[in-house]
Symmetry: C2
Subunit: 201 residues, 2 copies
DNA sequence: GAACTATTTCGATAAATATAGAAATAGTTC
DNA sequence: GAACTATTTCTATATTTATCGAAATAGTTC
């Protein structure tokens, strides 16, 4: 299990912000610190409700309170928002191919139908869904982080099918591999694992 | 009303991602396009449930579908995630002071207690909550977007209290004003309005 | 066009939770 | 310490919604 213990934290973060009143509270706190009563009056909802929302925001690490005389002054933790925003940006820059190494029933079926026992591709399916299975199958022949010359790439692709140009084009088209502008170097642009998808139960 | 018509969109975005199964689906689609059935099998939930989730993800602009033979192949809209991440980053860089011009009951009371009728500050409250009201009160004397020399800043602050150094320090400390490193220029670092807080009802 | 396939829609149910009022708590002021 | 204040906790209720099975739909294959 990779960095997946953060999954629950992500869910909490989004769920907490996915409620109109709470998002408004965050908006208020983004402008300046507030007390519970101030928020309740501005939003025209009960204090106990506000307290409840602040408690959930606090659980998610989005706000923090500070006692001051009678009042609890709540502040926004801008860092929490910033961190999540950066995490999201990082994620969107790295497509992945997880699941390629333990195929489900459908993928097994497609591989059984369209590849030889040694892995060579017998024929290309027209359905994109099936074709993608084969592209990912070919991708497993390449190491993440390694740069391949086009010549070496073609040698490896030739183990799968004589139409190496087609395979090369598909790998790039589906963003499984990147190509350097000039020198003709290729490399995998995925990562071992992105967000949690392995499951909870 | 500023750019607040996006409020509902923000809520939908966060709410949609704040559900474990949907977040897992996003994780799957971040790796590769999937059909409804594939997702259902991987997550061990019913197809109709997956279809429902995909529908909500689609409403939020997070995924898009493409018909292909029997199947609907769903893809992640990475741009939607990227855009939101960038919006969040932008927001966290701009604290604001909205609400300073129409004070609520509490702020009125504080201002009545601690300022003269001409706006001068009679005394400084020790409670931070009340002190903040005065800091924001002083801030209204400055125009957004205008750069002030320290000399001019002190002239204006002197209209509120002789302890101009304290006021200047507080304005910077609470991030209502920024100071340029060398030349001693000051300016408001807020914006007219950030996320929606004005209200939906 | 008939048979078939994946997906979507519909209807119903169970679980999660936003909300508010009342009671309890923690802390301040005099 | 007594009176007071804001906040939190508790209890209950109403709303939202995740989930599934069945029926309806849209599209493909032969």
């Amino acid at each position: 299990m990779p960095q997946l213990e953060h999954f629950d934290h992500y869910v909490r973060f989004f769920k907490v912000l996915g409620e109109p009143q709470r998002l408004k509270i965050v908006g208020l706190l983004a402008q300046s610190p507030h007390t519970v009563e101030q928020i309740a009056k501005t939003l025209k909802i009960g204090v106990s409700t506000v307290s409840h929302h602040l408690s959930r925001l606090s659980d998610a690490g989005l706000v923090s309170a500070k006692a001051e005389s009678y009042y609890s002054i709540y502040r926004l933790n801008s860092e929490a928002l910033r961190d999540m925003a950066r995490t999201l940006l990082r994620q969107t820059e790295k497509p992945t191919v997880a699941g390629a190494e333990n195929p489900d029933a459908f993928e097994r079926k497609v591989l059984a139908t369209f590849t030889e026992s040694d892995g060579r591709i017998k024929a290309f399916p027209t359905q994109e869904k099936k074709y993608l299975v084969l592209v990912r199958h070919v991708l497993t022949a390449f190491e993440p982080g390694v740069h391949y010359t086009e010549k070496r790439l073609n040698q490896i692709l030739a183990n799968y099918n004589e139409d190496t140009a087609r395979l090369r084009r598909s790998l790039v088209e589906y963003h499984y591999m990147a190509r350097e502008g000039g020198g003709g170097k290729y490399w995998r642009i995925d990562t071992p694992a992105s967000a949690d998808t392995s499951g909870a139960d």
